[in-house]
Subunit: 406 residues, 2 copies
């Protein structure tokens, strides 16, 4: 007998038949003797449909009202799932984010959970109920409805699991777990039975968006073990947890890729401009995330600066930088045809030859590397976009990630 | 400068263009210097669509979860209306029933408002906001979402107006006001510029469902003046308020009709059965409303009992009564081909000839009367259904209701 938190995404509850399937899975966990809390997203494309309605009314709707509107999506799915579980003869209750005690800050449309007041959830569990909590939404101290931004339901589930000191937080999704590389790119990519929080975070933030990075962060802070599983099969999935026992054995865990990036290069920027500070300060103000920053001297008083942004932020970034340029002589170049390929592994920092192995693997395939950045658990290379799948495959081969004993 | 509460029904906010029209009307009231609170129903057929979703999942969904689901309908319309008002440059905020302080009892799907805690509404008005409150929904003392049943938005509006001591509660609908008879039956039916609460209540509960009877009751108790108007035109509409100054002048105000009824006759019921108590007790338990009850002696120890029910309750009523009958000898008759025609007017009680006038008008047209019941402000006759329109017209003519000086 334990406490199990299960999270189901939008595709898992899209339509009455899928809702009934989820209800059966939830009831099995309860029948195994667990106290079960279920966190659910809005059905399928509900959120997009609601956004369409809003933008038909206003080009720039107030964010508080957007949240009021979007929160109806999960309210619909939690009530329908409760009805489906009720037909299977279990006691069940659905709770909105507000009722579930999901307390957030006031940043509408991208609020952060401050605290989970789990009083009501605990009381309903003790009454013998399966408790369904709306994902993605919460309530501010002044009783206004907020949403957590896309993928926020993962974070709701982990935060609830942390507050309840749950034994496991199961994340049901439409893939069967975390792989050594994207199986659509590398045919013999291998399912990872377990992976550390840090590695998961790098894999998640590098385009393998199985789990919301913020959710992994919260899980790491509170030590909530995660279980990433398919909601359409009974395959074993991937456990995400502390890595201690793994890090000495494994070097490279997986290969991640992100083809949604663009490179900006600033050539010959006068050093007195303090370009790093100025450029990245300005982009941060516009909410543009910058990645893979490299700075190098280009002349006695000038520097070259190179970095990447998300491709859909490129236009905004360029126009911000052009304001900065003014009448100066330095050049701005942009390249949309790039992609980022990264090797990730908790054991890498104790294994200095790993980066060299990666460069060698890419060079052997004739893949040029534009930029390199490294952290303790990853090495990222920017490569031409048309070659990034070959780069992923080359790295996957070089580090023998298909071998089950690696 | 006053406080105006406006209520818009589902057809008034069905689609983005209509929402924008409502927004303009709301802003005009604010620009005239009023503090404005708007109560809105769910858009068009949203409630029916949500019910369909529920019944696809479960034949008998838990009522608490139905309320959780249905409440999303108004949450969508209030947020969209807030966005539309925002584009017109007014400060605006939308509030769910819970946020608006609409406190109800625990009877899910047909809850009654116990109290309006208007603290938040008042605070937002004082900040200079137009306040939009979700109709039809509220919150229980244990923080569960309830709905008030069909037409409940009228009641929300009147209860909010009472709590705020509003100067007027404007009910916007798809007809232009209250008429002396159904304009589809009587071509020269006249719009009533004003009508008393009691008369409105009789007219409303007799099939002229422009206003929810419960809303009129609450308005009468708290003395909230109502203004029934069209949301599609600027016609003057009907004021509903205290009748004192009217009752001596006017005798009959209007003619109402209800063709959704059926008659049940019990012949020769043994008196020892206490039929009145037994039959109506049993029907009340099944939630069947009974109307127009007439009891008469039929023999030394037997009675005849005649009454009407709503036509869709007839089957359930008959089967309940058959259980009661057991092996006894008395007879049960049913007649679906009836309709009720009523004359309504606050001045009738001081005018005893009115009922006789009505009977005479019907007799002149050869319309037989099956049952008669009277109250202080109405006389109702049960007539054959195929003749009820003729009966309405005859009464309308007899009491000269088309004359503007009546």
């Amino acid at each position: 007998m334990g406490i199990v938190v299960q999270k189901y995404g939008g595709t898992s509850v899209a339509g009455p038949e899928r809702i009934k399937n989820v209800a059966q899975r939830v009831c099995r966990a309860a029948e195994a003797g667990n106290q079960v809390v279920v966190v659910v997203s809005a059905q399928g494309d509900t959120t997009d449909r609601l956004l369409d309605m809003a933008y038909t009314i206003s080009p720039d709707p107030p964010k508080r009202e957007l949240d009021m509107l979007l929160a109806t999506g999960e309210q619909i799915s939690i009530s329908l799932l409760a009805m489906a579980i009720d037909t299977l003869g279990h006691k069940v209750i659905s709770l909105t984010g507000a009722q579930g005690g999901i307390l957030t800050d006031e940043r509408h449309t991208k609020a952060k959970i401050r605290e989970v007041n789990a009083e009501r959830i605990v009381a309903e569990l003790e009454r013998g109920c399966i408790v369904i909590v709306a994902g993605f939404q919460g309530i501010t101290p002044s009783n206004d409805i907020t949403t957590l931004g896309r993928g926020g339901s993962d974070t709701t589930a982990v935060a609830v699991a942390a507050a309840l000191k749950a034994d496991i937080c199961e994340i049901y999704t439409d893939v069967s777990g975390v792989y050594t590389a994207d199986p659509r790119i590398v045919a013999d990519a291998r399912l990872l039975p377990k992976v550390g929080y840090d590695e998961m975070l790098e894999l998640a933030s590098l385009g393998a968006l199985i789990l919301q990075p913020r959710a992994v962060e919260v899980a790491a802070i509170y030590g909530v073990p995660l279980h990433v599983r398919s909601s359409f099969s009974d395959s074993p999935g991937t456990i995400v947890r502390e890595v201690k026992d793994m890090e000495k054995v494994v070097s490279v865990t997986g290969v991640a890729s992100d083809d949604n990036c663009a490179q900006i290069v600033l050539l010959g920027v006068p050093r007195h401009l303090n370009a790093l500070q100025l450029v990245f300060g300005m982009l941060a103000e516009d909410g543009i995330n910058v990645d893979m920053i490299v700075k190098a001297q280009s002349g006695p008083n000038t520097d070259n600066l190179s970095f990447t942004v998300q491709r859909n932020d490129l236009k905004a970034a360029l126009s911000a930088i052009k304001q900065l340029q003014g009448a100066d002589e330095w050049k701005i170049l942009a390249n949309e045809d790039v992609a980022k390929v990264s090797i990730v592994g908790a054991g890498m920092m104790t294994n200095p030859g790993v980066a060299a192995e990666m460069f060698d693997a890419l060079a052997n395939e004739g893949i040029p590397v534009e930029l390199v950045t490294t952290s303790e658990i990853k090495v990222s290379c920017l490569v031409p976009r048309d070659l990034y799948k070959a780069a992923v495959a080359a790295c996957h081969r070089r580090f023998c990630l298909s071998d089950t004993n690696s």
